[in-house]
């Protein structure tokens, strides 16, 4: 990657998926696309994939199935917020040599295949610390990133790094307000108190979190953690503006692009019904 590239300014805020490709409506879920006659996609589907040799192809399959946004995991050796599926995927990726430079190449290769889909690297602070905070942001942007997610960099820490902020059921109203103020384009609602990974039921905490977050921001609210089935997606989308699916997508991706595309399509259908 372009180590010599000048540190650029903040990463531009990605519009809610669907909007930057379709219409200029301000909010997700508001009759967008009607004028252009393209299908209405009121709810956004974000799919998480771990960076690896097959990721560009998998990403294309996910979008073909209906994903609007892709989170690309840059693996870290000690991922505190992740459950077993993503932790193991990170271990495998690291064993395959997916260090920061290789992940940036993976991001660029994915961008080459998907010029219009927002791509958001999702990682941990230690990678940015080692690579250089500004340099990481600049090189990620140059490789096609629409924003960043740094799981262990809560709102208020390093506010100059433009990124999507996460809020959780434990977040106070003050912290919700801070995260909403500092976030980049949309707010990531962690549906549950816990780590990433599939759960049997959608977290009952999501409804209250959406209500509290909605009082503080007009930005799109995407719900993630513990969402793995079309039923979860449908239920979450009844509350939020979109869903993020991680662990289950990583598992399905192991069966190849065809399976991932089918899986994304099943989630897409559920969201369109919501």
């Amino acid at each position: 990657m372009s180590a010599q590239r000048q540190a650029a300014g903040p990463i531009p805020s990605p519009l809610p998926p669907g909007e930057n490709q379709r219409s200029g409506q301000k909010r997700a879920g508001v009759s967008r696309g009607r004028d252009e006659g393209v299908p209405v996609r009121p709810k956004a589907l974000a799919i998480y994939l771990m960076c690896g040799p097959e990721t560009p192809e998998l990403a294309e399959a996910a979008v073909e199935g209906g994903a609007d946004l892709l989170e690309l995991g840059f693996p870290f050796s000690d991922p505190l917020a992740d459950g077993p599926v993503i932790r193991r995927a990170a271990e495998r990726a690291l064993a395959q040599g997916m260090r920061t430079p290789a992940c940036l190449e993976c991001l660029a290769a994915t961008r080459a295949r998907l010029p219009h889909t927002p791509l958001v690297p999702m990682t941990y602070a230690s990678l940015l610390e080692a690579y250089g905070w500004e340099r990481f942001a600049a090189d990620a942007q140059a490789a096609g990133a629409a924003s960043l997610i740094v799981v262990d960099l809560p709102a208020g820490v390093r506010p100059e790094l433009r990124r999507v902020q996460l809020v959780a059921p434990t977040s106070t109203d003050e912290r919700l307000a801070l995260a909403a103020e500092q976030t980049d384009g949309w707010l990531y609602l962690v549906t549950l108190t816990g780590t990433t990974g599939a759960r049997a039921e959608l977290s009952p905490s999501l409804a209250e979190l959406v209500t509290r977050a909605r009082r503080r921001t007009e930005l799109p609210l995407y719900a993630g953690f513990g969402i793995s089935t079309p039923d979860h997606a449908r239920a979450a989308a009844a509350l939020a503006d979109g869903v993020v699916v991680g662990s289950r997508a990583v598992e399905v991706a192991e069966d190849g692009p065809g399976s991932l595309s089918d899986y994304a399509r099943s989630l897409r259908q559920a969201l369109d019904e919501a």
């Binding site: 000690d78 459950g83 602070a125 820490v157 434990t170």
Partner: protein
């Protein structure tokens, strides 16, 4: 509130934990300002833990020197870890948390956590790496007898690093009713400060004891450093005495300060054994308690400022010092402080204070293999 130490420390944790850290910080402040907290802790120290611990002159181990051992090995449960566990248990009770989660490497912190949970009727879950369970079996059995649930960590290094990650994941999941009883001066703020303050009793007592015995301060204060809690506790008694040299001794294969780089691990920025991409490396030490690739942020700060210096000792040197202390003084030290003992002979100074942070019963099998 001390959130950072120079450029080290901070709170690099998922958002889910931030409100819990704020609550912990507020509870800690209130406790610090409450004389009842201190008197209760002092009383537990005296009547339950065995404080003050003695100071022992080790003339046969270190001929020609005045080597004083601060005998934390004689504390209840056999190591300094209980100082921290007692204080944090009182804190958990004040916060209304009835479930304790902890990590352990050598098992000494796990035993201390299990002990205070038994004493106060709290639920206790201890995460321990499978490799450490193998080499520290006696402590595994002690934790079980004390009523703790010990959960094996079977992935990654299968040692303290992974046990700590799993304990933090448990805390993230159960944060509403659970206190994370971290065992060393690592982790997100305010943990490094809490652990230092609770271990500072080592330095306070030792300072008075050396003054009483020698009429002057020690020339050197020496302690082993893994995460660094016994060292920071000892150093805190002398950090303002510029004439006292502070020396930390790391395990050669786990020299976070000697050969680490700035990185983020387990919620704080510190000096970490990490590669150029920020991926954390495996530490390698015979001593499960020092086998950790990170270190408390305050130690990284003390190193950079030049106030403390940090050196290494190999597995072989530690085992030799272990055997020598046994034969010359009739004391079986833990392998962790054996690393500090290994550096005594080459010191230029005569009056030396060393924190003997724990006893060696747990290490007999490991030493016998050598």
């Amino acid at each position: 509130m001390q959130l950072t130490y120079g450029e080290y420390g901070g709170r690099y944790v998922p958002e889910t934990l931030i409100p819990a850290l704020d609550e912990l910080e507020a509870g800690w402040r209130e406790a610090q300002d409450d004389p009842r907290f201190h008197s209760e802790l002092d009383e537990l120290g005296r009547s339950y833990a065995g404080r003050p611990t003695p100071l022992t002159l080790a003339e046969r181990f270190a001929p020609g020197k005045r080597l004083y051992l601060k005998r934390e090995d004689l504390l209840h449960t056999g190591a300094h870890k209980l100082n921290n566990a007692l204080g944090q248990a009182l804190l958990a009770l004040r916060l209304g948390k009835r479930r304790i989660v902890a990590e352990t490497g050598a098992g000494q912190h796990g035993v201390a956590a299990a002990t205070v949970c038994a004493r106060f009727g709290l639920d206790c879950v201890v995460y321990m790496g499978a490799e450490d369970m193998r080499r520290q079996r006696p402590n595994l059995e002690r934790m079980a007898l004390l009523g703790a649930e010990v959960r094996t960590v079977e992935f990654g290094t299968r040692t303290l690093k992974e046990a700590t990650s799993e304990a933090i994941r448990d805390w993230i999941t159960n944060v509403e009713d659970t206190h994370y009883l971290i065992g060393s001066c690592v982790g997100p703020a305010p943990y490094p400060e809490i652990v230092r303050e609770l271990q500072s009793v080592i330095g306070r007592e030792a300072r008075e004891q050396v003054l009483a015995a020698e009429g002057r301060l020690p020339e050197v204060a020496l302690a082993c450093v893994g995460g660094g809690s016994n060292a920071i506790g000892l150093f805190s008694g002398f950090v303002d005495d510029a004439e006292v040299r502070l020396v930390g001794v790391e395990a050669g294969g786990a020299a976070s300060l000697g050969s680490g780089r700035p990185a983020v691990l387990h919620g704080s920025r510190s000096s970490v054994l990490a590669d150029e991409d920020g991926q954390v490396l495996d530490a390698e030490s015979i001593s499960a308690g020092l086998d950790y690739p990170g270190v408390g942020p305050e130690h990284a700060f003390l190193r950079d400022s030049g106030r403390a210096e940090y050196v290494g000792a190999t597995d072989e040197e530690a085992v030799a010092a272990f055997r020598r202390l046994a034969r010359t003084e009739g004391i079986l030290p833990a392998l962790e402080p054996s690393h500090a003992l290994a550096r005594v002979a080459e010191l230029d100074e005569t009056l030396v204070l060393l924190c003997l942070s724990g006893r060696g019963d747990k290490d007999l099998a490991e030493v016998a293999e050598r």
